[in-house]
């Protein structure tokens, strides 16, 4: 049977040892995520949400079980191969933004392109486009300490998506923001999702979690419930002004439960350049 899942976790275990004590952060987790899904991961503190996200983001490895990303078993990859996959397929958004303080907004957004060895001309083009898309053009040369929280998170989102990853992982993206700004950021993420990017958000905020079509509740390292709300309105990509350029150049399976309208992507430039390491 061909595996059509974007992410497929089976029987994942992750245990931490702290001195004598043993923390079973993930136990026997099975999870399939299709392309374009919008998932909220909730649950009490210490239930393993971040651990799960780190594992999906290839920052961590399971002790047991297999993880297939786009059909490829990634548990057997070495560190450099994981880094490459991370750079190409995964975007991270953090609660504390994690912008490099000495770099301007533009330079922060440019980082993934720099790390991947993109030529300068291409970088300039993509960064200025991203700045425009996220309404940051007039903040391009500001350093993070000169930006508001919402602007910082927008810079972080621009940075996470500049290489058009398949999956966007956000660990409490609104945790450091006030309600209104948090709402803006969430809308921005949902827009990206509406354009086909798979979005996984860890949150403590019930209201925020309820916006997701699929809600996973974790408890004590295991998945306690996994609900897909069919009644949640699909976000309308045509409603907002986001250009189609940030749509990942992937095919979305036709049997996808989420009927997000996706515009043609044939006009996209080749998204990857040879990596110079």
């Amino acid at each position: 049977m061909p595996d059509e899942s974007l992410i497929s976790l089976s029987d994942i275990n992750r245990t931490f040892y702290l001195g004598d004590s043993k923390v079973h952060a993930l136990r026997n987790v099975d999870l399939n995520i299709a392309r374009g899904e919008y998932i909220a991961v909730m649950g009490p503190s210490g239930s393993g949400k971040s651990t799960l996200l780190n594992l999906i983001g290839l920052l961590d490895r399971p002790d047991e079980g297999t993880y297939k990303l786009e059909g490829r078993d990634v548990t057997t990859l070495d560190a450099d191969e994981l880094a490459a996959v991370r750079s190409e397929r995964i975007g991270f958004i953090f609660q504390s933004f994690h912008l490099v303080p000495r770099l301007t907004a533009a330079a922060n957004i440019e980082l993934p392109l720099v790390l991947s060895g993109f030529p300068a001309a291409e970088r300039v083009k993509r960064v200025s486009q991203a700045l425009k898309e996220y309404g940051l053009t007039d903040r391009a040369n500001h350093r993070p300490n000169e930006l508001s929280g919402g602007q910082r998170q927008r810079v972080a989102i621009a940075r996470a998506t500049i290489l058009r990853p398949a999956v966007l992982l956000a660990d409490e993206p609104t945790g450091n923001l006030d309600r209104v700004t948090g709402e803006e950021v969430v809308k921005l993420l949902e827009k990206l999702n509406a354009q086909g990017m798979t979005l996984i958000v860890v949150t403590h905020d019930q209201a925020l979690g309820a916006r997701a079509r699929r809600q996973i509740r974790m408890e004590d390292g295991g998945i306690a419930s996994d609900v897909t709300n069919s009644h949640v309105e699909a976000n309308d990509a045509s409603r907002d002004g986001l250009p189609t350029d940030i749509i990942p150049s992937v095919d979305i399976p036709t049997d996808n439960a989420q009927t997000v309208p996706v515009e043609p992507v044939s006009s996209l430039p080749a998204s990857r350049q040879p990596n110079e390491g």
Binding site: A83, E88, H98, G277
Partner: protein, 402 residues
């Protein structure tokens, strides 16, 4: 990551902490400046000595009375221990050797010169007409001593430039009579100013014919005999023949020491080169200290930038990319320190030359290159540990650190 981007990123990271970077550059530059300046001093000393010895002439063989103790045991020593004096006849005998171009006997003493109502101490040098050629000196006014065929010694004197100025001022001294010791001598010439050699200036000399000097001092011994070989290749031959001739003349007793200018030069050159190297080595220790500072500062930087490192890894930077970033930063800091240090070293050497104009304190190129290389290597060596620590950081823990 492109190498140019790596450099840009590292430069940016280094300059973002100006105090940290400044301290490192300072430490490294002091080390390099020390190497450059101390080798300039050492090499300057070497050149100074070599120049001094070269200034006494070319292809010289010098005869000294008395045996050098380094020549080992000789049964002749048992018979008599008082060496014979060197005489003018010895000098004349040497002139007959075919490989010998010129011979200049030398006699020195301190004396007084009295003229135009002024009295002054001066160094008396008795020699012959060839001395000026052997020593490659120049006459500024008049002529040098005339050839003394008979060996009676004429009553003439050549003055050093300073003596002339102090006694006669701007007046023309030629033909004037001066009183030297108990003799009245006629001034026939004045030496050009600035003559150097064997650490003594010729500006305060009174040069008289050797026979005149011997008569004044009531002695017939010589202080030295300078022998000039016809060519460089013949120096060894001249040395052997000179020794043989004098030994023959002294009843088979080898009671003189013959040294060559080359041998002296070589010895000094060697000794002072070793000295310079040693000094450079000591200065290089300060570079190692600077290197340790590089390591510490970089370690602090890694700790401070833990979150950034975690982020880079989350963005897909490989461990080797992270390691490279920190290595390049350490190397850049060390190198800029080294470049600043070379600049400081050159300035310091220039100041030294300004303060002591006769002292050629130029930093040797090898020392400058060695200083730069040592700084670079210490940056590399001491940059490795912090860079590896950065590369090994666990991204999750690094990211969770705030």
């Amino acid at each position: 990551m492109k190498i140019t981007d790596t450099f840009r990123f590292a430069t940016n990271a280094a300059t973002a902490a100006p105090l940290r970077a400044g301290l490192l550059v300072l430490a490294m530059s002091i080390g390099v400046a020390a190497v450059v300046m101390l080798t300039a001093l050492g090499d300057g000393a070497r050149r100074y000595v070599v120049e001094q010895f070269s200034a006494i002439g070319t292809n010289l063989v010098i005869v000294l009375p008395g045996r050098s103790e380094t020549r080992g045991f000789n049964p002749a020593n048992l018979v008599t221990s008082t060496p014979r004096d060197l005489t003018i006849e010895d000098a004349n005998a040497l002139l007959r050797l075919p490989e010998v171009k010129r011979v200049a006997p030398i006699l020195v003493a301190t004396t007084e010169i009295n003229a135009a109502g002024k009295l002054r101490e001066a160094m008396l040098l008795g020699t012959n007409d060839d001395y000026i050629n052997v020593r490659q000196m120049k006459v500024g006014l008049g002529r040098f001593l005339s050839k003394d065929e008979v060996g009676h010694g004429s009553a003439e004197v050549v003055l050093g430039a300073v003596i002339r100025r102090e006694i006669f001022g701007t007046e023309n001294p030629l033909g004037k009579t001066v009183r030297v010791g108990d003799r009245r001598l006629r001034v026939v010439g004045v030496l050009s100013e600035g003559g150097q050699g064997m650490g003594m200036t010729t500006d305060e000399l009174l040069i008289v014919p050797v026979a005149t000097a011997q008569a004044m001092l009531n002695s017939n011994t010589l202080f030295r005999i300078l022998v000039e070989a016809r060519s460089r290749e013949q120096i060894a031959e001249v040395k052997a023949h000179v020794l043989k001739t004098i030994t023959q003349r002294h009843d088979g007793e080898e009671d003189v020491t013959v040294i060559t200018q080359d041998a002296i030069l070589e010895t000094f050159d060697k000794i002072l080169n070793v000295l310079t190297l040693g000094v450079a080595g000591i200065a290089a220790i300060s570079l190692a200290v600077a290197g340790i500072l590089v390591m510490n500062v970089m370690l602090v930087s890694v700790t401070q930038r833990t979150g950034e490192i975690g982020l880079l890894k989350a963005l897909g930077a490989t461990s080797s990319a992270v390691r490279q970033l920190f290595m390049v930063e350490a190397i850049l800091l060390s190198l800029s320190g080294a470049v600043v240090g070379v600049g400081l070293g050159y300035v310091g050497a220039a100041v030294l030359r300004h303060l002591y104009p006769s002292f050629p304190a130029y930093p040797p190129l090898w020392a400058v290159l060695a200083g730069l290389a040592t700084a670079l290597i210490s940056g590399l060596v001491f940059g490795v540990m912090p860079a590896r620590r950065a590369a090994r950081l666990d991204p999750i823990q690094a990211l969770s650190k705030r």
